[in-house]
């Protein structure tokens, strides 16, 4: 492994991505929506709506009693003693939206991955690159780095922003620093990187089969499905995504990644790239 080469490729790819608005604008828009706009609606708009409808609170408490009965005990313990507005904030922001913070790194890495792997094929720049003495492996890891780093920056940057917004806008309701809840740290540090890599590897593998950035971009959209399933499961009360589930899920994703990495390394070789029909 030649670190100088890996770094040069990653740097070059990032400079190219910076010039492609199609590739980076989603990374900017999603965090703004999920970290500022939606929390604003839930924390500021929600309570004022409830205040205008005097029955809303009591209905809510009735529903809550029912909910407590069916909720997994871990989760029930967490919301024990909260009032209606607090429960809403907790459910929506700390639970329902958690998967969004997996989708963001996954999308970021898969978009940059598609841009850097298929983009070069599409613009026919890959040929000169492959004539350089850089090994297949160095080329691969340089491009991997170019996608993973921004994905993690987006994920962790958004997480910080989210934490800040939730605690400041949430102060009138919660009256304390309430976020992040225990599940969030393992999610951001263990699961989010796994998803970032998953998105990237999948997009690299898809890229090897298609010839345009748009095609790859659209196909990687499929990856969002498991995350959405997770979200549905959680919202419907079927499962509580607590620290232990996060750890287990992360383990599965990392193992899948290992398999995909082996596969991607084989696909991304000069001889495979040129041997395949254009």
């Amino acid at each position: 492994m030649n670190w100088r080469i890996i770094r040069a490729i990653a740097w070059k790819d990032l400079q190219e991505v910076r010039q492609n608005r199609m590739a980076w604008s989603p990374m900017l828009i999603l965090p703004i929506i999920f970290c500022i706009i939606i929390p604003g609606i839930v924390l500021v708009g929600g309570p004022s709506l409830m205040a205008s409808d005097p029955n809303a609170g009591t209905d809510m408490m009735d529903d809550m009693q029912m909910l407590m009965g069916i909720l997994p005990p871990d989760l029930a313990a967490q919301i024990q003693g909260m009032n209606g507005a607090q429960v809403v904030a907790y459910f929506v922001l700390a639970l329902m939206f958690a998967p969004m913070f997996l989708i963001m790194p996954l999308m970021t890495s898969s978009v940059i991955g598609a841009e850097s792997f298929v983009g070069e094929k599409e613009r026919k720049t890959i040929e000169a690159l492959l004539y350089t003495p850089a090994s297949d492996r160095d080329l691969f890891f340089g491009k991997l780095l170019a996608a993973v780093v921004p994905a993690l920056l987006v994920a962790w940057g958004s997480f910080l922003l989210y934490t800040l917004v939730l605690n400041t806008l949430g102060w009138p309701i919660m009256g304390r620093i309430w976020f992040p809840t225990p599940a969030w740290l393992p999610m951001m540090l263990w699961l989010a990187p796994a998803f970032a890599l998953l998105g990237l590897l999948a997009s690299i593998l898809i890229s090897s089969r298609v010839n345009s950035f748009m095609e790859a971009y659209q196909l990687t959209g499929i990856l969002v499905i498991p995350v959405v399933l997770l979200m549905v499961g959680q919202v419907s009360g079927l499962l509580y995504v607590g620290p232990s589930l996060i750890f287990g899920l992360g383990l599965v994703v990392w193992l899948v990644n290992l398999g995909l990495l082996a596969l991607a390394l084989r696909v991304f070789s000069r001889k495979a790239l040129f041997g395949a029909s254009p």
């Binding site: 070059k12 400079q15 040929e127 850089a134 000069r270 040129f274």
Partner: protein
Amino acid sequence: MTPTIQVDSLTRTFKGRPAVDQVSFRVEPGEVFGLLGPNGAGKTTLVRLLNGLLEPTGGTATVFGMDAATQGEAIRKRTGVLTETPSLYERLPAIENLRFFGTMYGVPANELGPRINQLLTFFELDARGHDRPGGFSKGMKQRLALARALLHNPELLFFDEPTSGLDPEAARSVDDLIARLSRESGRTIMLCTHNLEEAQRLCSRIGVINRGKLLAFGTPAELARDLWQGTWVDVTLNPAPTTELIQAVKGLSVALNTQVAGEHLAVQVESPKNIPALIAGIVNAGGQIMKVLPREYSLEEIYFKVQEGES
């Protein structure tokens, strides 16, 4: 001395169809070797095989004595390739393009800056170094791509259709650069082209390829001799040859074939060595010779003769 390139029965098929078919040849150090062939002949595929970018289906290719199929990395450190399309990062400034490739080719960081400046000046791009090649003309892109191919001072250069799509002036300036590279630094060059005039001007030896097969290989003179068997000599006489004179010439043992057109005689002899004997014979028979010209074939004639023999 090890040949720079040695190719033996090299074959590469795509889905059962050969793109390079049982090709064998060698290129010596310092040579400018021209590979001539129409679209789809297999030129680009051959360049890829020689640089270890493709696995051969059969046969071997060695470059600098190293096996191209297994030692591509070591070979590529010493080769520079001008690809068919300039293959530049159009959104990155020209200098950034060169800096990136310099790093990829392992040019030491402290040498890279001066080297880039030197090449930009050489290719008359120094004023445009900070601009993006997306806005360059084709000729400028081609010169930038040439600069890129030379960054690491390669011993062997591959030019894949370096002048296709350029206007005559830009094409000429690229050709002049190639000639200069060969003359001044003694680099070995392999030039793929379907421009016969360009090959004639630049190449010392020629290979003609079509449908993956190498149909002919050698210097233009060698190829002409093989193709037309013997040398044709055009003799101009004044006065025009009489019937007796023509009979006498046809009777000469060195004259294999004789054709007449007015005051011109075209005589085929076995080799240029027989020309003095032919002249002596004509003079002895009373012919008054004004001019003797051994016929030289243009590459174009050679090329079409070879392709014709194939079909």
